[in-house]
């Protein structure tokens, strides 16, 4: 495929479908008597790329961690890919194997090689034959541009490389939705770009993405919606252009002036 044809195919893939990927209805969560998430309502369509931002402690991490049950919500519903998240273990495992997640601190398994990190879940959860899992893993490692590191251990890689491995590891499960929790905030500036490039590529292929990040350049480039959270609530959400140029609420304006200001 030629460069231009690929671009065209990509931008058509960036089209958002009407199919609902995640639905959150009146969701509430408490830590003890601390009300972390208050009446969250959010619908994510398939192919949507959503950036979530907001001040520290506003509940961004908690919100996306609720979507694969790393945290339990106490009230309201979360429906992922048509499956409702409840305490039913079968549902949880099903959703988790279809929703990929990348963490701020990568959380690679240090006792396994890069390749083993990538093949572990396909082999043990999806029961993929080892050889096939390895081929898939190499495919995704090539995609994140580090196939030559396959037999090293995570401790031997730079932060940016580790985060790209973490992305590849999630992709090996062929997820339909990807969650990112501040994937670049533990990285040195020169490594941020390589991770963001990988994420942009993923977005161009039509992956449904929810991304907690303060990389506003990334938000402008790939997001089709930016959500601003404060004190456990969704304060404002809008298309990136509108969101950045014309923020409605005062809290959003303050937040934007703080992170874009200087």
């Amino acid at each position: 495929m030629t460069q231009t044809a690929e671009k065209a195919a990509n931008s058509s893939a960036m089209h958002v479908s009407d199919e609902v990927a995640i639905e959150v209805r009146n969701m509430n969560k408490w830590y003890g008597d601390f009300h972390v998430l208050k009446d969250i309502n959010l619908t994510v369509n398939r192919g949507e790329r959503i950036v979530i931002c907001g001040p520290s402690g506003s509940g961004k991490s908690t919100l996306i961690r609720c979507m694969n049950r790393l945290e339990e919500h106490q009230k309201g519903d979360i429906i992922v890919d048509g499956t409702e998240l409840s305490s039913d273990l079968k549902n949880i495992d099903k959703i988790r194997s279809e929703v990929g997640m990348c963490f701020q601190h990568f959380n690679l398994f240090p006792h396994l090689t890069i390749l083993e990190n990538c093949t572990l879940a396909p082999i043990w959860v999806r029961k993929t034959p080892k050889k096939e899992a390895e081929e898939t893993a190499m495919h995704f490692l090539e995609k994140v541009k580090i196939p030559e590191q396959a037999n090293k251990y995570p401790g031997q890689l730079s932060g940016g490389q580790q985060q790209r491995v973490a992305i590849a590891r999630s992709l090996c499960m062929k997820p339909r939705i990807m969650l990112f929790d501040e994937p670049t905030s533990a990285l040195d500036p020169e490594m941020i770009a390589e991770v963001l490039d990988t994420m942009i590529e993923l977005a161009e292929e039509g992956m449904t993405m929810l991304c907690v990040t303060h990389e506003m350049g990334f938000a402008r480039k790939v997001a089709n919606r930016v959500i601003f959270m404060d004190a456990g609530q969704i304060v404002e959400q809008n298309e990136p252009e509108e969101f950045f140029n014309n923020p409605q609420s005062e809290r959003t304006q303050l937040f934007l002036s703080q992170i874009l200001g200087h």
């Binding site: 194997s97 690679l108 398994f109």
Partner: protein, 426 residues
Amino acid sequence: MKPEPYVRREMLAPQPAPLGETGILRWMKANLFSGPVNSVISIAAGLFVLYVLYRLLPWAIQPSWNATSLSQCQDDPNITGACWGVIHDRFNQLMFAFYPHELQWRPLLAFGLMFVAIAPVLFDKVPRFLLAFTAMFPLLAIWLLWGGSAWPELMVLAGFFIGYAVHKALVGPAGELTAIILGVLATLLWWIFGVSPVAEMLQGVVPLDITPVESSKFGGLMLSITIGLAGIAFSFPLGIILALGRQSDMFIIKTLSVGYIEFIRGVPLITLLFVASVLLNYFLPRGTNFDLILRVVIMVTLFAAAYMAEVIRGGLAALPKGQYEAADALGLDYWKAMRLIIMPQALKISIPGIVGTFIGLFKDTTLVSIIGLLDPIGLANSIRGTTDWNGIVWELYLFIALMFWVFTFSMSRYSMYLENKLKTTH
């Protein structure tokens, strides 16, 4: 292609040190005489070592190997120090106690096979199929040591297959946890009610027996190794289970684990050994002949497992929470996450503690002399009670210490090797 950040992709090969940077003198300068304080300490320590050797060697180097009694040593003008004849004279006893001479090849064979059995556990280069032998080795060793019919051992082995079959049949319809519980239950029921009648019947049909040896004939280093190794082999998995239990979200399991660990750690081992030797007889039904060595092995296992659990819990606690979360996020269930992600790392962190517990357990086996078992210490007491060797002290205990040291030192070297091998960062 976009320029990549500057990151080294290949590790450089270590280069040989420049000339003049190697050799013993260099090493001594760097490690012993790097400064005035270091030099003074080195010289003082060196003098101390020399003094000890100066006093010890003349005592130890004596032509006394062939003496057959202490008085012979004392009467011989050429012997002015250690009387090593006791080791020569009583060597076989210190190794095997009263195990019949013509059958001693059996414990020796078991000891040799033990190395085959532990090799695949210790070294990952050894072919994996040997693990099947490892799994069967305990039963094989029991048969070789105690003799008698092989059928009970074979039937115990069959219990594992029964448990496995039950688990396999139920895991689909009933779920993982139920299948595990029922599988374990089926195995236990078979062991308690099935094994002995079926084994007896099969022994009637196809006799498979070798000369039996009673537990009372066991002793010496052989006994220490038997109890020590059995304790190590069983306390390790039990310790892992207890550590996981202590971390569990399920209240009952957590409480039971914590209660068990805290109770056992609060009780001296010797108390448990007395319970094994005396008290259990009151509780067991009259006429059951529950072997004393087996009882001791059980007590030692239960004791060491509590310590093991705490050591492993330390390893679990040292793992970052992110490892659990990453395993969860990939859809691994609890058991897979534990087996593939959490335990390999937690155990690796705990290696020094685990090996420390093993070494402690092995040395603690000498306590069985107090309840009348003839381990090397028990034998030393009885050897010193004979007319020939009345009054001998140092030679015997030094030798026993040396035997234990050989084992514990190998364990500690192995643990260092393993830690080194499992290092995945540079």
